[in-house]
């Protein structure tokens, strides 16, 4: 008789589609995965430890580099927690700028996800189309705060720069173009039979499993659970705008795709309203003491980043540096379900499932 044995395949840290330095050790039998063990830590940079020696404003550039694809929401997570601890008042114009910037960032992050997901599945062109739109957004950010990827835009109590002349007009002109391009992406991808065959029914899990694992963001909403921190625990001025929370009843990769594309549409909707209601003038920085020294205590505040719930837990002993700063990183939590989903799947589906969870390694490792 032919002797068959299990093959130990190491999808190593260097691989074109693991979205960074991520390693999975697979035990496969033919092409079916019997056991999958993710190994992380290749990008660990000790952000939380470094934060014990830096004051709050100095930590903000480090948060940029955690989830480098959506840096604005990271900045906001930290700044929001500190402001909650110190009970600061943020001026209106600063809130509007923050919201506009965060929603643009959400669109940009979902575009990166869209492009790279389709690249993993094999289609080369949507990647470049998505990056054409992302380039417009990044140029807008470049004009606003001087950087293309690591913005360092938010400060405790407001934002650093005011919108330059004509910037709001540019955002306003970008939105119909983004709508048209979104239709183009749907035309190119959403009806494609090959894509549907690759993605439907793959990586299915139900709502109770999702809640047990602590998933958040599109991964949770793709099982039908209507949970979005922007609506359920509103922060900033999200309660002034009307938008829908995208959900989809199946829990597979197709529903995650649908949910994220719908989120782009809803972000455009919020942006249209925000640009209409943008205050003509105002302060961009509230009344903040020179040295930011929160009172003794602890706080946790979570916001909705494109990947899920990002939260910052600060324990302060009354000094200018935090005693302990912990980031609740959505990619790290969302990745836990990978081990369970991969058992019994094809190797090809591993790439599809991993892409569908949308992780960024900078965030997983911290």
């Amino acid at each position: 008789m032919l002797r068959t044995e299990e093959l130990l395949l190491n999808v190593g840290p260097q691989h074109p589609s693991t979205h960074g330095v991520f390693r999975i050790v697979l035990k496969i039998d033919g092409e079916i995965i019997k056991e999958a063990t993710p190994v992380i830590g290749y990008l660990h940079r000790g952000t939380e430890k470094l934060a014990e020696n830096l004051n709050y404003t100095q930590i903000i550039p480090y948060t940029d580099r955690m989830d480098y694809v959506s840096a604005m929401t990271n900045n906001y997570a930290l700044v929001n927690s500190v402001e909650k601890m110190m009970q600061l008042e943020i001026p209106e114009r600063a809130e509007f700028l923050r919201l506009i910037v965060m929603e643009l960032q959400r669109i940009a992050s979902h575009l990166v996800w869209f492009g790279t997901y389709l690249l993993d599945i094999g289609a080369m062109s949507p990647f470049l189309y998505a990056f054409r739109d992302r380039e417009t957004i990044i140029n807008l950010f470049n004009e606003l705060c001087g950087a293309r990827l690591t913005y360092f835009y938010m400060r405790v109590g407001g934002v650093k720069w005011d919108a330059p002349e004509g910037w709001i007009e540019k955002v306003k002109n970008f939105l119909p173009e983004m709508r048209r391009n979104l239709d183009e992406y749907h035309e190119l991808v959403s009806g494609n039979e090959i894509f549907l065959a690759r993605v439907k029914g793959i990586g299915k899990y139900d709502a109770q499993t999702a809640i047990n694992f602590g998933l958040s963001g599109a991964n949770l909403r793709s099982t039908g659970v209507k949970w979005d921190l922007r609506k359920d625990q509103p922060y900033s001025i999200y309660d002034r705008f009307e938008f829908d929370v995208a959900t989809h009843p199946d829990g597979d990769c197709w529903s995650r795709y649908v949910v994220r594309m719908e989120e782009i549409k809803q972000s455009i909707r919020i942006l249209e309203q925000a640009v209409e209601q943008f205050p003509a003038e105002g302060e961009i920085m509230g009344k903040v003491p020179r040295v930011i020294r929160p009172a003794e205590g602890e706080v946790y505040a979570g916001i909705e980043s494109p990947r899920g719930e990002i939260g910052v837990h600060i324990v302060s002993k009354g000094k200018a540096e935090p005693y302990r700063l912990k980031f609740r990183r959505p990619s790290f939590t969302n990745l836990q379900i990978l081990e369970k989903l991969l058992v019994g799947e094809n190797i090809t589906n591993m790439v599809t499932i991993l892409g569908g969870i949308d992780i960024v390694l900078g965030e997983v490792d911290g």
Partner: protein, 336 residues
Amino acid sequence: MIDLIQSQLTFTNLILLFIIAAVLLMTLLGFVSYAIYFERKFIGWIQLRIGPNRTGPLGLFQSFADILKLLIKEDVIPTKADKTLFIIAPVIAFAPAFIVLATIPYAENLPFADLNVGLLYYIAISGLTTLGMLMGGWASNNKYALLGGMRSAAQMISYEVPLVISVIGVILMTGSLKLSAIVEGQAGYIWNWNIFPQAVAFIIFLIAAVSELNRTPFDLPEAESELVAGYHVEYSGFRFAFFMLAEYTYVFAFSALTTILFLGGWHAPLPALEFVPGILWFLLKFSFMVFFLYWIRATLPRLRVDQLMGLGWKVLLPIALVNVFITAIVLEIIRN
């Protein structure tokens, strides 16, 4: 050329034939380098960017630069690899590609080795490449390469069947396996071409051909994003160039075959355009087929292995068989 082939084999005739063959091979090498260049350009335009444009004017020397780079690379053979098989595998993958080109007629006066069983010879020899890929995958001593090699063997064998059966309809209509006879059977203008009565066979042939070529959407053996280049992951330098050369030579061969079988070979589409020489029509239709392959590559995602096998055996094969039956029945009815 026909009289050259039909005359006696003297020494001068041998030299002349040899020179003609060498010219064909040079044309092929030129085609391969510019096919790669145009592929990058076309896919670049589709993706809203310019393709190569820095090496030489308009980037025309890009392929030569790449080939030069591959030639001067160090020849790395993994330590535990099976040396003999490792070295022979690219040759076996690549030689049938050249052998097959001998039977393709490009114009009325350029039939080359127009065998009586040209089509059968073509399809039989092109199946030998699978052996080379399997050997390459096994000999590399690398799990990724092994997976890629096995996938490619399964894929290419399964798609040979619908490929051949879809062509049977054309053979029934023409009554011969000789490639120039098939083109003669499409004499007349565009309404005589085989693509119209055999539209279903054309589509099946196209899908099976793309799969035989290991191109997207069927490029699992070299799936970049999962298997990191599949069966040729351990090959570098000129051995890798052999595999690439084999793939592009097959692009040439299959596009030429599609032109001959379905698009009327060297015949003009309309009476008004008769003055253009036959070889130019051949090249035009051939270029259209090559462009179509590039267009598909830029647009479509990749199929999974089981879906690919399911498509080949459960969808293409039955439809091809039904096509053969219907063609036979219609021809019987017409004859009576």
